[in-house]
């Protein structure tokens, strides 16, 4: 099923015409409304009229995380503040969180994006959609919610945190669709198996995202729950989930090119790569009003395919993600940078202890263990004080990254140090295959 056939199946030429027209308007808008963009363009001697269409996009400077940090919170706003009706944000608290600021139209387009994605997965107004992404600043919950409502489905906003309650709602309301992270869905599957309740559910599909997952996880989800699994992609900076989604062909995620212009660049040189080549995904928001982004570097490594898909859609497909160009980790759907952890540990007594983050996936749930070397300044002859140290580490991390970590105290010099550069992350999960 296709939500918006006129757009999703547009011939390539028309897509490009539309993109060119929208890009020109966007450049004009940001040049005149956002000082930050205007200065960046002036620095490289660009005027809005230099951009006549998507063929000129490489002339435009990139927008990076650093730019977002500098412009935090609303320095890139392209409309009067009174036009903004909602804010979302990523979890980053030591680094600046990334902001989504939406006008009413932005919210509508977001819902349209999610509706297209969910329809791709077969969701209709007759479905009951259980949303188990977090509601709040995180875009997952409300993003999926508005999309499912736009379709006219019955939405159950369970949010996260209480598996027993979720399973109760799943069964009582005979939900047919679930939207959550793939690792959490596997946890739900396990719980259902343990409680012998698989037969009591009526799920037909899931829309999973917010973290990388493998074909193996998809196969497990489909087999254990007897459902079809679909992958949804998005970023808070773009709007949230609903930027792209995979169809029944499972041959990549269709990106809504009428709203988002994707490019693949060499992460080192920033130059365009040929279709099919793997590089960094760069996205320009063509229609966003509140916080438009010009050539935003996502740090996600992938390639694009422009061939018409067997599902009938013409919109380009983002191929399997191959990793990141930075050191960001996604743990339980939360974006974590090792530098955030480092900054948090620094608050313990002013000096960063030697530490190691060990990320793993146990029973399909992400786990984070922080190993801290007990240097003499932390040492005490009382077990209570040492346990207090572990509690303190747990609590500063919870505040900084919003995750519960297991803290393990280890002896000095047991973590790997090499030439003053210490390895801080061990990720045992197999996320990219």
């Amino acid at each position: 099923m296709i939500w918006n056939e006129a757009k999703e199946c547009m011939p390539r030429e028309e897509i490009e015409e539309l993109q060119s027209a929208r890009l020109k308007k966007l450049v004009d808008r940001v040049y005149h409304n956002v000082e930050y963009y205007r200065r960046k363009m002036q620095e490289v001697g660009l005027e809005p009229m230099d951009i006549q269409g998507i063929q000129d996009i490489e002339k435009l400077p990139f927008t990076t995380n650093e730019d977002l940090n500098k412009a935090y919170p609303l320095g890139l706003l392209a409309v009067p503040r009174s036009e903004i009706i909602r804010i979302h944000a990523t979890s980053g608290t030591t680094g600046k969180p990334k902001i989504g600021a939406y006008t009413r139209r932005d919210i509508d387009i977001w819902a349209e994006g999610v509706a297209r994605c969910m329809t791709m997965a077969g969701v209709t107004r007759d479905d009951t959609v259980l949303v188990s992404y977090g509601y709040g600043l995180f875009t997952g919950g409300l993003g999926a919610h508005y999309g499912a409502e736009k379709i006219g489905a019955m939405v159950i906003p369970v949010s996260t945190g209480n598996t027993a309650k979720l399973i109760g709602m799943l069964i009582d309301f005979q939900a047919t669709v679930i939207a959550c992270t793939p690792s959490y869905l596997l946890h739900i599957a396990e719980t259902l198996e343990k409680e012998n309740k698989i037969d009591q559910i009526k799920l037909k599909c899931c829309i999973c995202g917010a973290e990388p997952w493998t074909d193996e996880m998809r196969a497990q989800i489909e087999k254990r729950l007897h459902i079809k699994a679909y992958d949804i992609y998005g970023l808070t900076e773009m709007m949230g989930p609903g930027v792209a989604n995979d169809c029944d062909a499972h041959a990549g995620l269709h990106i809504w090119e009428d709203h988002f212009l994707p490019e693949i660049v060499d992460p080192a040189t920033g130059k365009h790569l040929a279709p099919g080549e793997t590089g960094e995904l760069v996205i320009t928001t063509l229609t966003k009003e509140g916080l438009p982004l010009v050539r935003y570097r996502t740090h996600d490594l992938t390639s694009l395919s422009y061939e018409k898909c067997s599902c009938g859609r013409t919109m380009a497909r983002i191929q399997r993600f191959k990793g990141r160009t930075d050191d960001m980790l996604i743990i339980k759907g939360v974006n974590v940078f090792p530098t955030q952890v480092e900054a948090a540990l620094l608050t313990i007594d002013g000096t960063t202890p030697h530490y190691l983050m060990v990320v793993d996936r146990v029973d399909n749930q992400d786990t984070l263990e922080i190993q801290i070397e007990v240097e003499e300044r932390f040492f005490s002859d009382e077990i209570r004080s040492l346990e207090k140290l572990a509690d303190k580490v747990r609590s500063v991390l919870k505040t900084a990254i919003g995750l519960n970590a297991r803290v393990k105290l280890v002896e000095p010099d047991t973590l790997e140090h090499s030439q003053g550069k210490t390895k801080h992350v061990v990720d045992k999960r197999k996320l990219y295959d």
Partner: protein, 140 residues
Amino acid sequence: MYVKQLSVFLENREGRLEEALKVLKDNGINIISLSLSDASDFGLLRLIVSDPDEARRVLKESRFSSQVSDIIAIRISHTVGSLFEVLRAITEAGINIEYMYTLSVGVEGASLALKTSDLARTDELIGGMSVHMYTQEELG
């Protein structure tokens, strides 16, 4: 009167206790008494040794986290209620016992190591009782 106690942080990992004891042995340090406490992930080795400061130095060289701290070491008679009397005096003074363990020294009576929330006050209290307090020299 205080006695110096050496505490060593040990990860719950095979062979760590042995490794710490080897460092002491190789440096000619005699262990007079030893107590091992464990938490979920780590252990704490508390020792009375012949030369605590030297022991700490050599342990540090071998990258163990250790600490020398004061404790009170006492000997009480093998009679009913003798430990109770000591503890009652401490408790009534509003002092907490942080930890306590038996010392493998002496032939008569029972010997104990004590760490309290107020060591100076504990020292005063016990000093006023008919309880023997060990000096460092006596133990070393």
